[in-house]
């Protein structure tokens, strides 16, 4: 059973119509552009239903495929999704349907957690793994912000280091009411798999399976996820390097995807191109 989560009016900035593909009965919305190495990009909370400057920058050096997970953006919620294993399988099925045998996997925030899970279960499918300010680990003494006790605006305030007003194209979903509903739909889809626990302690052991080149990206001043999570991922992944994407004018935050799209894309392309 699916539930239509919101009216879809392309009235906000950076909107780009999506392509659609049927993945075992799920009508998946995705955007794809660029040539070269295939890069499967997994979004976080928010910033969906758009082709971002970051996507564009990444597409200058690779074939970017950006699906929207069930319940996010324009892909309908799926009641059968109960835990991460369902999302992992769905994402891999999406790659199968598009004929992506091996690919570079990039995940941002909660998409980083998903990417880490996929990497642990399907290490042979990865050409490389990039995690941008990724959730997913339990790091004692460094609990992330409780995003479930925030509405979308304060969440984005934190992501964008109190400069949300400069990013209205990124955060508006078609008016105040629609933004509220869309953000609730997405955090509900996230909550189905990531309410409790808000980490997967098994990744501590499982990440040793990921031998592909890995890149873990942190930022200057992350007000959602403590830097120690980035450090820990870099320790656990056997073939990882860590990079900090710093801001040119202002410190970067959890919303680095919006804040420094070009620098972030350049860093990722370095790994994708094996340089």
């Amino acid at each position: 059973m699916t539930e239509q989560v919101t009216e879809k009016k392309p009235s906000w900035g950076l909107y780009e119509p999506a392509e659609h593909v049927d993945v075992h009965g799920v009508d998946v919305a995705y955007r794809r552009k660029g040539e070269g190495e295939p890069v499967l990009y997994l979004h976080g909370l928010g910033l969906t239903r758009r082709w971002l400057p970051f996507h564009e920058a990444l597409a200058q050096g690779s074939d970017v495929i950006a699906p929207e997970q069930p319940g996010f953006g324009e892909t309908p919620r799926q009641d059968w999704i109960k835990d991460w294993s369902d999302v992992v399988l769905h994402t891999v099925e999406f790659a199968d349907v598009l004929g992506l045998e091996r690919f570079h996997l990039v995940g941002y925030s909660f998409g980083g957690w998903l990417a880490a899970e996929i990497a642990a279960f399907y290490p042979e499918r990865l050409k490389s793994l990039t995690l941008i300010t990724p959730f997913g680990l339990r790091v004692e003494g460094h609990t992330p912000a409780d995003i479930y006790r925030m509405t979308y605006d304060p969440f984005m305030d934190r992501c964008l280091n109190d400069r949300r007003d400069e990013f209205s194209d990124y955060v508006d979903e078609g008016g105040e009411m629609e933004t509220r509903l869309q953000s609730y739909a997405e955090i509900s889809a996230l909550g189905r798999v990531a309410w409790n626990p808000r980490y997967d302690y098994k990744l501590e052991r499982r990440l040793a399976r990921v031998t592909a080149p890995a890149l873990v990206i942190g930022v200057d001043d992350d007000r959602i996820l403590p830097r120690e999570h980035v450090d820990r991922y870099a320790e656990l992944l056997p073939n990882a390097r860590k990079a900090i994407v710093s801001g040119t004018e202002h410190p970067t935050g959890h919303g680095v995807v919006a804040q420094e799209p070009q620098l972030l894309a350049d860093e990722i392309l370095t790994t994708v191109k094996g340089r």
Binding site: Y148, R149, L181, Y184, R192
Partner: protein, 425 residues
């Protein structure tokens, strides 16, 4: 005469925390460093005192709520509170509203607690089975709010089988897999205690109440909305193939009574205002953790102008039930019972009242309002037969069903009846 049931809310708030006018929420993370166990003992024991008062005043029942992580009501498990109340009272019905099914790892565990409290109270338990308000999910850590509805409904379906079928049977669900469901002891009320489903109007909750013939505990909402909710509940009962009984509709309301309007103002307005400003005060989004409501419900609530608790002390005097004389309250109750087809009222005052003032409120209500709605002024427990027995003689006279007779094997003598054998003979 309209024969109505009256259940008094006796929960009390722990009020000794810093004034919280600037806080979004008084639940969830108001630190328990503010809790003092001596003061807490006074609040909690006051609940027992009020239960005893309510019984001596002739209320049909008393009621406490399950709450978590905040000072507004102190029973994290309403059933443990109900077990205690059953020990310090004799006749009055005891409502435990909560427990939240989703706080239990297994519904069997919940069924066990219900059965034991029902037994030790001699069939006086009323159990409320809410899905649980959203804010609770931030502070208890058992269930995922985005799975809450599915898990809750599966749990209720299992409880229904537990109450209506003999064990052992397997339960093979999505959230629970229990190879052998086999409840010992079973409730003293047959087949189960009364069940209340508190609801502000969620259609999902009303469906559940109708499906299992539970009582719809109608949380106070504006009149037209309340009427629509109750009609919907009746329609849903019809769809299930039966007419809703008036006992299945109970209205939650509050009265602030004084000898005179002026006396009520003097004694109660500050408590009524404090309650409005504090009780269940959560930021809107904390009432709706992820997935706790459907998108349709959320859109409908936001379109309807849902907002957080108000903070307008002046609004208290506008409350329909504030400062009325007992005669006016009698009329209000009569009208509401007729208009909504309700069989009873859950009556609350202010959670912050000192015991003496709560006692005064309850006494005025009991002496000047309740007698208008019951034959000879008697509560139901004084008029109706009770489940269970009250003497050994009665136990034998009731001809209990013996599932089997125990035997014992004595060496050299074989198997002999356990209770009728002298092993030395």
């Amino acid at each position: 005469m309209t024969d109505l049931e009256f259940i008094q809310i006796i929960d009390r708030t722990y009020p000794w925390f810093p004034p919280a006018f600037d806080r979004d929420s008084i639940g969830i993370d108001l630190s328990n460093a503010n809790y003092d166990s001596d003061l807490g003992q006074d609040i909690i024991e006051g609940v027992g005192f009020q239960a005893q008062m309510a019984e001596s005043l002739g209320y049909d029942g008393v009621l406490i709520f399950e709450q978590h992580g905040h000072p507004l009501a102190l029973f994290g498990n309403a059933l443990t509170g109900a077990a205690w109340l059953s020990g310090i009272t004799k006749d009055i019905s005891i409502g435990a509203i909560g427990p939240m099914m989703n706080n239990y790892q297994s519904p069997v565990r919940l069924a066990e607690e219900i059965a034991i409290v029902d037994t030790v109270s001699r069939g006086r338990l009323i159990v409320g089975l809410p899905m649980g308000i959203g804010a609770q999910y931030h502070a208890i850590g058992t269930a995922n709010p985005a799975h809450a509805r599915e898990r809750y409904e599966e749990g209720l379906a299992l409880l229904d089988r537990i109450w209506n079928e003999d064990g052992a049977f397997p339960w093979e669900g999505e959230y629970f897999h229990i190879p052998n469901v086999n409840l010992w002891p079973r409730p003293i009320q047959k087949p189960r205690p009364r069940v209340f489903i508190p609801a502000a109007g969620s259609i999902e909750s009303l469906k559940v109440a109708a499906k299992y013939r539970f009582t719809y505990q109608a949380v106070a909402v504006p009149g037209p909305k309340l009427k629509a909710n109750i009609q919907l509940f009746k329609d849903l009962c019809n769809e299930e193939g039966y007419e809703a009984d008036p006992s299945q509709i109970i209205l939650v309301t509050g009265f602030f009574l004084g000898e005179t309007q002026k006396e009520a103002e003097r004694e109660l307005v500050r408590h009524a205002a404090w309650n409005m400003q504090n009780i269940m005060r959560y930021a809107t989004h904390e009432s709706f953790p992820p997935g706790h409501v459907s998108m349709e419900s959320l859109r409908s609530m936001l379109d309807g102008g849902y907002r957080s608790k108000g903070n307008d002390p002046g609004a208290v005097r506008e409350m329909p039930a504030f400062g009325n004389t007992p005669e006016q309250v009698v009329e209000i109750i009569k009208e509401q019972a007729e208009e909504y087809g309700a069989g009873g009222f859950i009556v609350g005052g202010a959670f912050s009242l000192p015991n003496w003032l709560a006692h005064k409120q309850m006494q005025i209500f009991a002496e000047e309002v309740m007698p208008h709605f019951r034959p000879e002024g008697k509560p139901r427990w004084a008029r109706q037969p009770k489940p269970g027995w009250t003497s050994a003689s009665e136990r034998v006279g009731r001809n209990p069903h013996y599932g089997g007779m125990p035997e014992v094997e004595i060496p050299g003598r074989g198997r002999l009846p356990l209770f009728e054998t002298d092993p030395l003979e």
